[in-house]
């Protein structure tokens, strides 16, 4: 197979989706092995694709292949694939995490209703995400983009018997849809200016200055709106924490490798356009910083394990956008990859906890689980350290890269804001770990019934923990070389005019980064050690206003609810009044009444007597004749 056939990566899981959706019910064990096999095949094929890419002249590709889709007049629409380092990195991340999630789900979803359907949609989800990252034109991107949205809707609302799950699914779908409209407008605007959907055609046109500055800025901002919705950036972040209603493996997949990173991927892919459009990068940076900071504050006050992880995901996505805002796709993609591994690990770890404690995810009832669940506890510990940014784990390297690049591009103010967010990340991650795994159990009953999960669940945890430790090292030139890449990740993925650059440790930033992580960890340790919450409760009681503000997520949900209540419902009320009284009563009923009334009166003209009709005819002829004579003169 050559890399030109890379579409098979998406086609195989998509095919399995249809098989499972139609025959899954009848297959033994719901056909879960087919799902694992499909994703496993894609996982293996992604290495072949990588091999082919490295076999090209400068090891960077791109390898492209496309077919003519349709021709309208002079306009020719081609659909195809574009394999370059960004695509291959995404392939690796998506297939690895998806494979782990699939295996984990066999244990986690055991005995659930619609078991086969879960695996079916999982395949479609992965297929559409793979399609998204290899698409060579914005139209195909948009199609896959929407498919990803549909799959997330189906999976978040998987437990549709639960009202909160259907609400969350709708919320996710509608919130991202607001952004998607922006994306569609952006795509149309770019097409109108360049006459092509081809991503690289558009990038070349933008770089050659064929598109006016203002026009380019506006259209790329519309595209970015779509990215913000999909990647849950403030103010579109509200759907993501609610998306925790889905089964936990889905949370891991959505928040690590698929759905939410689609926005990051598309921004990275179109980064050259962002650079050409004046001010676009600043917008990206500011959105990222705002998100990282706000969600950091919110996560401090959450008590649901998955909610904390959800807000940390939003925060880390903010980090990725900040990284992209510096104009270096490599750094954003690097953080995306490391984050995917340790966040999938954390989510699956929390899934293991939830499974073991019979669906308990409130920290207030957990604690002291490490001894009961040694493997989950240890891997979760590794994941937490990676998220907190402790060297030499994966999260440290990618965060460090972000800080260095951010300082170069925007200066110290941005670094300070992000440092605050990073410190908070370390704090709430430590808090999460201590309150779940350390100290004494808060609920004796739950604790007694807890047991370590089986190997089908701990296996993926261990593999991901391994990646969470090692994935960061690909930043180094020698390690990248050793893996067969042209060098470190920043020498593999780079924007053309920046050129590859070899990573060197900036000891100042590394030290500062370690200090931030340490402050966060020790502050959390001081507050929660032994699962005591006296100190934090005292702090919360002293500042009830601030605590409530964090606890209630800065009132975003309330604000949106109010806007919907006042604005949308108010407007709907007016429209409905118009519909009811003007359109219905006056327009529809009114015309019916006029017809009925006039019919009621005029029916008496129909006497049934032939002489009357004959008279009418005769008078009519005479009348018309006279009228004709008068008119003619």
């Amino acid at each position: 197979m050559g890399a030109e056939q890379a579409w098979l990566l998406a086609a195989i899981p998509a095919g399995v989706f249809f098989v499972l959706a139609i025959f899954g019910r009848a297959l033994p064990r719901g056909g879960d092995y087919l799902g694992v096999a499909a994703i496993g095949t894609s996982f293996l094929l992604s290495f072949f694709v990588l091999g082919d890419l490295l076999g090209t002249e400068d090891k960077l590709g791109p390898i492209t292949s496309s077919i003519e889709w349709s021709t309208v007049g002079k306009f020719e629409l081609r659909q195809g694939i574009w394999i370059d380092p960004i695509t291959v990195t995404m392939f690796g991340v998506i297939t690895t995490v998806a494979l782990m999630v699939n295996v984990f789900s066999i244990g986690y979803m055991k005995g659930e209703p619609r078991y086969y359907w879960f695996f079916a949609v999982l395949q479609l989800f992965v297929a559409s995400m793979l399609m998204l990252v290899m698409a060579d034109n914005l139209l195909l991107v948009y199609i896959s983009w929407e498919l990803v949205g549909v799959c997330s809707f189906l999976l978040i609302g998987f437990y549709w018997e639960k009202r909160s799950a259907t609400e969350a699914a709708k919320k996710a779908f509608i919130t991202t849809r607001i952004g998607d409209v922006g994306l569609l407008i952006g795509i149309i605007l770019l097409w109108k200016a360049t006459g092509t959907f081809d991503i690289h055609g558009i990038i070349h046109a933008a770089e050659a200055g064929q598109i006016g500055q203002t026009y380019l800025f506006v259209s790329i901002m519309f595209v970015f709106l779509g990215c913000m919705g999909k990647s849950a950036q403030v103010p579109f972040h509200v759907w993501l924490p609610d998306a925790m209603e889905g089964p936990t493996p889905v949370s891991a997949l959505i928040h690590a490798a698929t759905m939410v990173v689609a926005g990051v991927y598309l921004t990275a892919r179109l980064l050259p356009i962002f650079e050409v459009a004046d001010g676009a990068l600043l917008v990206v940076t500011i959105v990222g910083l705002t998100t990282a900071l706000l969600t950091g504050f919110i996560a401090l006050a959450q008590t649901d394990i998955k909610k904390v992880l959800a807000y940390s995901t939003v925060g880390q996505l903010g980090f990725m956008f900040v990284a992209l805002g510096t104009g270096h796709p490599a750094i954003g993609m690097f953080h995306l990859a490391t984050h995917a591994f340790f966040k999938a690990l954390l989510f699956l770890g929390s899934g293991s906890v939830i499974h073991a404690t019979h669906h308990n995810q409130e920290m207030e009832k957990l604690g002291g689980l490490w001894k009961k669940m040694p493997i989950t506890g240890t891997t979760f510990f590794i994941g937490s350290l990676a998220l907190a940014g402790v060297p030499p784990l994966a999260g440290f390297w990618s965060k460090d890269e972000i800080f260095v690049a951010l300082n170069d591009k925007w200066g110290l103010w941005a670094v300070l804001i992000l440092a605050l967010a990073a410190t908070m990340t370390a704090f709430y991650t430590t808090r999460l770990f201590i309150r779940t795994f350390m100290g004494k159990p808060m609920d004796k009953h739950i604790h007694d019934h807890t047991h370590e999960s089986g190997y089908v669940m701990t296996g993926p945890l261990m593999f991901l923990a391994f990646l969470a430790v090692t994935a960061g090292f690909v930043v180094f030139h020698s390690i990248g070389k050793g893996l067969g890449l042209p060098g470190g990740i920043t020498e593999f993925i780079f924007a053309e005019h920046h050129g590859p650059h070899e990573y060197e440790i900036d000891w100042g930033f590394a030290a500062a980064s370690v200090v931030m992580a340490t402050i966060g960890i020790f502050a959390a340790g001081w507050m929660y050690w032994g699962n005591s919450i006296e100190r934090s409760t005292a702090l919360a009681e002293r500042n009830p206003g601030i605590y409530q503000m964090f606890k209630r997520k800065f009132y975003f949900d309330e604000l949106y609810q109010a806007v919907i209540d006042r604005g949308v419902l108010g407007f709907s009320y007016v429209v409905s009044w118009f519909d009811r009284y003007v359109v219905n009563d006056t327009g529809v009923d009114g015309s019916a009444q006029v017809t009925g009334f006039s019919g009621g009166v005029l029916k008496y003209l129909q006497t049934g007597r032939v002489p009357n009709y004959a008279m009418a005819i005769a008078l009519g002829v005479v009348g018309l004749t006279v009228a004709g004579l008068v008119v003619r003169g």
Binding site: K603, Y604, Q606, G608, R609, V610, P611, A614, A618
Partner: protein
């Protein structure tokens, strides 16, 4: 030769008699006969115009033959209806056959 106007006046008189009969008579058979009068007036017109304005051709005569044919068919149909009416309602008065209404 008799001038054309005479034919037209005669035709108009016959037609008016027909109209009067249709409007004033109550017996269905008499109404039908009045209609025949009107049709004959029209035929007379056709023949007269054909003979005066377009001599040598028989277009008008053909039309007259058509009118007679249609009139025959119409009378056949209408008389059948009148017979049915009389059988059912024991009357041939058009004023009494007034149930076809709202």
């Amino acid at each position: 030769m008799v001038p054309l106007e005479n034919y037209l006046v005669l035709s108009a008189i016959i037609f008016s008699l027909g109209v009067y009969g249709v409007l004033a008579r109550r017996n269905a058979v008499l109404v039908l006969m009045s209609i025949e009068l009107m049709l004959n007036a029209v035929s007379l017109n056709f023949i007269a115009f054909a003979a005066y304005l377009d001599p040598g051709k028989i277009t008008g005569a053909i039309f007259a033959v058509f009118v007679i044919t249609v009139a025959a068919a119409e009378v056949g149909l209408a008389l059948a209806i009148v017979i049915r009416l009389f059988r059912n309602r024991a009357t041939s008065n058009v004023d009494e056959a007034a149930i076809m209404k709202w």
